[in-house]
């Protein structure tokens, strides 16, 4: 259980490390340190096999996507139309979902591991060129990845005839410029084409079929790719020996908010429970100031909320999905008994309303209205019809049953994730998710803020 001043937030423990194994070195981002600690050995192991065999390894290990949807990387790579070339790799380093903090650490602390992961993916899936898209606001990550690429090119790990083989691929570092929605994979591609970051309709624009420049394109998250060097070095068996069958390996999670020790932890996938994370000695050590836990968000700002009743669920995508939420990007936000729930919901909803790209009316207008109504409730100007109005606006974005956590207290059955939606991407529903959770679980807090008016208030002169 150790922290390092050069990796703010990261807490090491006595657990297997797949992606954070170099974080204890201050100079972990240099090629010298990388090579001295087993770097580029995974690439060599990959190049010693035929490309399809490497693809089989990634399939066999069930490396789940770490960007949000949890789709197995090996399966995704197999979705490109047979024989259609060129194919591209676009690396999603746009991390900006509220509560999410891991990809930035991986880019700043171990950029060569990411580069090696990109190379392995390109080799295995026949991807001819790679674009590494880093969120604009991450100046240090740009510097670190840029320098690492320069070192890797000079040493012959990237570029033409890598390590003397027939494998040749360029990796271009690309900048974002501040827009959350660009993290959505089709918006990422639009942005990389030099356009406004507006998501495309799926179907037909599944990137694996029609992606960058209309060609088959694999979009993978930074953490997903960072797993590959270790996998190739240590083999499928070693990888699947960690975690569970459906969720092997480790995951980076960020626990923030009202815990004693917030931090970024590499945890064992599938078995670690939320109780372990929030209360365990090697993790967050309980709620701050000895307060009670009120609620927590298990998987990023768009995830439906959990209450203490769900603490014993493990960090496992299917189970959490069946319980009415999602693991998303590994962001857990903890709210203690002092939390003003309507204000917390407002903070989250405002985020999605603000980040709407504006293409879909239910998201653009609905999100804005949710924010306005919540704002006036929080400011003490809400009326008793506002709570129904919130639900009415929300249902126009997400018609039908909304997923929520079961709560015996309220007599609710869990409705499994995900929701129905009237929008192109998940930003619209995400604006409603916090409102729905907060209203379902803590309606009385909203009611307490509503002014019970008997007449229209008149402003008295000063």
């Amino acid at each position: 259980m150790t922290t390092y001043p050069w990796a703010a937030g990261y807490v090491a423990g006595d657990r297997p490390q797949i992606v954070t194994s170099r974080f204890h070195y201050e100079d972990s981002y240099t090629l010298e340190r990388y090579l001295a600690s087993g770097g580029y050995e995974g690439l060599k192991a990959a190049l010693a096999k035929a490309a399809p065999a490497v693809h089989e390894d990634v399939k066999g290990a069930t490396v789940l996507g770490r960007g949000g949807a949890g789709f197995p990387a090996g399966t995704k790579w197999g979705l490109t139309p047979a024989g259609k070339y060129p194919r591209y790799l676009v690396v999603n380093g746009d991390e900006s979902e509220p509560g999410t903090y891991k990809d930035r650490l991986l880019m700043e602390r171990d950029p060569h591991q990411l580069i090696e992961g990109c190379l392995i993916a390109c080799y295995a899936a026949g991807l001819s060129q790679c674009f590494l898209y880093i969120r604009g606001e991450m100046a240090l990550a740009h510097e670190r990845v840029g320098r690492a690429l320069n070192e890797a090119y000079a040493a012959g790990y990237v570029g033409k005839n890598i390590l003397g083989t027939k494998f040749s691929v360029d990796i271009a570092l690309h900048w974002g410029a501040g827009a959350y929605v660009v993290g959505e994979e089709t918006a990422l591609i639009e942005s990389l084409e030099g356009k406004r970051g507006e998501p495309r309709l799926k179907p037909p624009y599944f990137p694996a079929a029609i992606g960058l420049y209309g060609q088959p394109t694999i979009v993978n998250n930074v953490e997903t790719l960072s797993n590959l060097p270790w996998l190739l070095c240590n083999g499928v068996e070693a990888y699947t020996a960690i975690g569970t069958q459906t969720s092997p390996g480790t995951r980076m999670v960020a626990v923030s908010g009202h815990v004693k020790r917030p931090g970024v932890y590499e945890i064992i996938n599938g078995t670690t429970t939320f109780r372990d994370l929030l209360y365990g000695d090697e993790f967050c050590q309980g709620i701050r100031n000895g307060n009670e836990l009120k609620a927590f968000v298990p998987g990023g700002g768009s995830a439906p909320w959990f209450t203490p009743e769900q603490l014993d669920l493990p960090f496992e995508g299917r189970l959490v999905g069946a319980a009415g939420s999602m693991l998303g990007s590994g962001a857990i936000m903890v709210m203690d008994s002092t939390t003003d729930i309507p204000k917390a919901a407002l903070s989250l909803t405002r985020f999605y309303a603000h980040e709407s790209c504006g293409q879909c009316t239910p998201c653009r207008e609905g999100g804005t209205w949710l924010e306005r109504i919540l704002s006036r409730i929080c400011d003490g100007h809400g009326t008793s019809s506002d709570l129904d109005l919130l639900i009415e606006v929300g249902t126009s974005i997400c018609p039908g049953d909304f997923p929520h956590a079961s709560s015996t207290k309220l007599g609710l059955e869990a409705t499994p994730f995900p929701y129905k939606m009237t929008t192109i991407c998940f930003v619209g529903p995400s604006a409603y998710a916090p409102v729905h959770s907060a209203l379902t679980l803590f309606r009385e807090e909203f009611e307490a803020k509503i002014v019970k008016r008997t007449s229209i208030p008149v402003t008295v002169g000063h």
Binding site: G9, G99, R135, A179, Y213, G257, T339, L348
Partner: protein, 201 residues
């Protein structure tokens, strides 16, 4: 002078050379021009349009989508305070208020001396370390009100010049692909099976 100067034009051409479709260089070139001028000018967008074979309207359409691009001069230091949920839970809003008080401006405003622009922004991927802020996109963590005052003092006195370049400069290290090492762009119009895949079949 708001078109790219000769040195930056050379950098622009190198950036453009890394994409098989030149329009992909739009955002990187907008950053480059913002680095040169502190903000994105009309002339720069016109020039970028010529470079990436697009129109000024399209370049503006793209640029205006992204929050980092400014279309008029702002402070030398852009101070962005996170107001998203994790920081909100541990006092992010108070920090914004404190900053308003110390700098005498509201979010979106710039101090009269042109040194500071204040922005209340969304999550900056440091959520366990709130309240968080960035100065010209360099992070500061667990910022107390005293830390904030000290930071402003240090910036005013130029004590952080080595660490924090003026607004516009993102990374001080650029990617450079040596010509003899480059694999080369792969155009979407050339349906060639990669050599290592052919060998595998």
């Amino acid at each position: 002078m708001s078109r790219l100067n000769a040195a930056n034009l050379e950098i622009a051409r190198e950036i453009m050379s890394r994409y098989p479709v030149v329009r992909s260089a739009t955002i990187p070139l907008l950053h480059l021009s913002q680095e040169q001028n502190g903000y994105v000018t009309r002339e720069a967008m016109q020039q970028i349009a010529e470079l990436v074979e697009s129109t000024a309207a399209e370049v503006y359409g793209t640029a205006s989508f992204y929050e980092m691009f400014k279309f008029e001069p702002i402070g030398k230091y852009c101070v962005n305070i996170c107001r998203s949920i994790s920081c909100h839970l541990v006092g992010g809003d108070d920090l914004v208020e404190h900053a308003e008080h110390v700098l005498g401006i509201k979010p979106g405003g710039t101090t009269a001396d042109g040194l500071f622009t204040l922005e209340a922004v969304e999550c900056m991927a440091a959520c366990t370390e709130g309240p968080t802020l960035q100065v010209n996109y360099r992070h500061r963590f667990r910022v107390t009100h005293q830390d904030f005052d000290q930071l402003i003092d240090d910036l005013r006195a130029g004590r952080l010049d080595a660490e924090i370049p003026p607004h516009g400069t993102l990374a001080r290290e650029r990617q450079h692909i040596p010509a003899d090492k480059a694999a080369g762009n792969v155009s979407p119009d050339t349906p060639i099976t990669p050599a290592w895949m052919e060998a595998a079949q």
